[in-house]
């Protein structure tokens, strides 16, 4: 009994996650989502105290409920009749009424929401009438390219932003700093679809011809998705341009934040202390200055996942990638409510998990907050 009481923070989330995981196990998007949730929980329990992690995970439940409700009510109040979209111009008033009845649209709003949530909890996202496909199947199929695109973009953005931001913050005010800062600022000012367009023009389709001279290359593919199964190199070649065009905007944001925090950190006394101990510059930067400088960056990195999803929507469109962005976008315009609700819910869940994760990382990095969270 005492053991239970002491470890309540570890036991409850684990039990809860196991139950949900068990119920949803057969469905790929959910098992991933909740696998992630458990990872985050474990991580949280390890780096902070378990009670705090448990509380964070519990606080996700009302958030997700609100999200599901918002999504559901938004989608069902969009003007336009889904039955009309399904039946097309051959629709008659009777056939529309009949189909609406079949789809359950004649029922009161809360009944529909209840039914939907009831199904969702046992892992059934419903069947899309427009695509004639199980929504969970559709999402698990289309989320893979999007997750890959986002992951590669984040990695690229961090790979570009961290060295650039650190160097630029360290050499604050010098010409090198200015060159780097303005270059990144430039990327911030270029919409990702313009960047994508220019990249494709010059690196994929052979560029333009000026005075008979071809400027540009045909190095990389301009469209389509190749799964990892078909070969890593081919897969990465196809993902390079989309990831890069998506990453640069984020890299600029990251770099600027890191730079400004770096400047602040380098002014703090402990850096002077480290210097006075005779540590090497690189050691000071990476071992002492990077961690306290990256708090804002980590918060914003978590947030940027949302921006990446939005950007992915457009990037997928430009590069003909079969991702979840185009799945949702098509769904909205075709009034494919079931598909959109399901996809947005899954994405939101993933997003929330990432945000929680970034908060926990934040806590782990700043021990002062850990102490504070225990006290609270």
């Amino acid at each position: 009994m005492k053991f239970l009481k002491r470890n309540i923070g570890r036991i409850v989330p684990t039990a809860l996650a196991s139950v949900i995981l068990f119920a949803w196990f057969a469905r790929p998007p959910f098992s991933w989502t909740f696998g992630l949730l458990m990872l985050v929980g474990t991580f949280g329990a390890l780096v902070t105290d378990a009670r705090y992690a448990a509380r964070r995970i519990f606080s996700l439940i009302p958030v997700l409920l609100i999200v599901s409700f918002v999504v559901f009510s938004l989608m069902s109040s969009l003007p336009g009749d889904p039955a009309l979209t399904i039946l097309g111009a051959g629709a008659t008033a009777e056939s529309i009424a009949e189909l609406n009845q079949e789809l359950g649209f004649d029922q009161p709003f809360f009944n529909r929401y209840g039914n939907w949530m009831g199904d969702v909890i046992v892992g059934d996202l419903g069947t899309s009438r427009i695509l004639r496909e199980d929504v969970a199947d559709g999402i698990s199929r289309s989320i893979t390219p999007t997750l890959q695109l986002m992951a590669y973009s984040l990695i690229l953005a961090v790979l570009i932003a961290v060295p650039a931001g650190m160097y630029s913050g360290y050499r604050n005010g010098t010409r090198q700093d200015r060159v780097i800062s303005y270059t990144m600022l430039g990327f911030l000012a270029i919409p990702n679809f313009v960047l994508a367009l220019v990249l494709v023009l010059f690196l994929a389709v052979g560029g333009i011809t000026i005075f008979g001279i071809d400027i540009g290359f045909r190095w990389l593919p301009a469209a389509r998705y190749v799964p990892i199964g078909a070969g890593w190199s081919d897969h990465l070649r196809h993902m390079l341009l989309p990831s890069f065009s998506l990453a640069m905007g984020q890299a600029a944001v990251f770099m600027r934040l890191l730079r400004s925090d770096m400047i602040g950190t380098l002014r703090l006394p402990f850096i002077d202390l480290a210097r006075s101990k005779g540590l090497k510059t690189s050691e000071i930067l990476f071992r002492h200055a990077l961690r306290p400088s990256s708090f804002t960056l980590i918060t914003v990195m978590g947030l940027s996942v949302g921006a990446l999803i939005g950007g992915a929507l457009i990037t997928e469109y430009v590069f003909t990638l079969p991702g979840v962005g185009s799945y949702i976008f098509t769904g909205i315009f075709k009034r494919d409510f079931v598909a959109v609700q399901g996809a947005v819910l899954v994405i939101s869940t993933l997003f929330v998990v990432v945000l929680t994760f970034s908060d926990l990382v934040y806590l782990a990095l700043d021990p002062r907050l850990k102490h504070q969270s225990k006290a609270a």
């Binding site: 999504v71 360290y170 023009l201 850096i271 918060t299 939005g310 457009i314 947005v344």
Partner: protein, 296 residues
Amino acid sequence: MMKLKIRRRTRESDETIRTDNSLGLMFWAAVSFLTVLVFCAIFADVLPFKNPNQTFKGFNKNGPSGSFLLGNDGVGRDILSRVIYGAQTSLVIAVVGTSIALIIGGSIGLAAGYYRGKVDRLLTVMLNTTLIIPPLILFISLILFLDPEAERRMFILIFTFALLSIAPIGRVVRANTMTWSEREFVLAAQTIGARNGRVMFREILPNVAPSLISYSLIVMATLIIVEGAVAFLGLSVPSPTPTWGDMINKGRPHLDVAPHITLMPALSMFITVLSLNFIGDKLKKNLSRKPRFCDA
């Protein structure tokens, strides 16, 4: 090492050596650009610009020329006057959207970061809720839901942009507030019995402000670009009202034959965003001060 020489200085010398209080040529160039742009945008109707919606026959996709300084777009309209009129839309959306978000998000973030505990949890749930539906998807649904016939699209855009900027700003403020409220001078203020409001606004806010300004300028710049994304999906302020995003998007198909149609508004957007950020950086540098350890 050479590089280290610059870094090796006491905190006192930090202010005197590093903070070059002269703002520099670039700063004034950026300010002048924005001033001219805002002036032109406000007085566009009075100034001798061509009607932005008039299509000139035989001029479609023409490059820059004497009578059309920035060239003509896909249906022969004057790009210069469309860029100016487009600035009205893009700037209003970005500035108003960010300001609203700044006030609401800033207050929420400050309160959450300062009070912690239950307040924090409640406010975080509020922020997270608007945050976790992917923004562009929420945009599309909100725009279609609130304004299917584009009757008051401008208002709706500002509203949704503000709504969706609250959470990011709030989170940054919260995170910063949490760090600063750990600091000794805050504790000191609390110890001597300062009221919470005073501590928040007099002790913490000034320290949060520099990174807040920097971040709001990024948000503002992002909003200008997000307007482009919304225009890309055909959901921005309806045609023929020009917006930069809409102009870029409509020039997209002609990028290889008439690049200026995309380039001119893109360049305006680029320079505006650059200027905003530049000014923000400089201001931040000049406004920022060391944390006050002993507040007299």
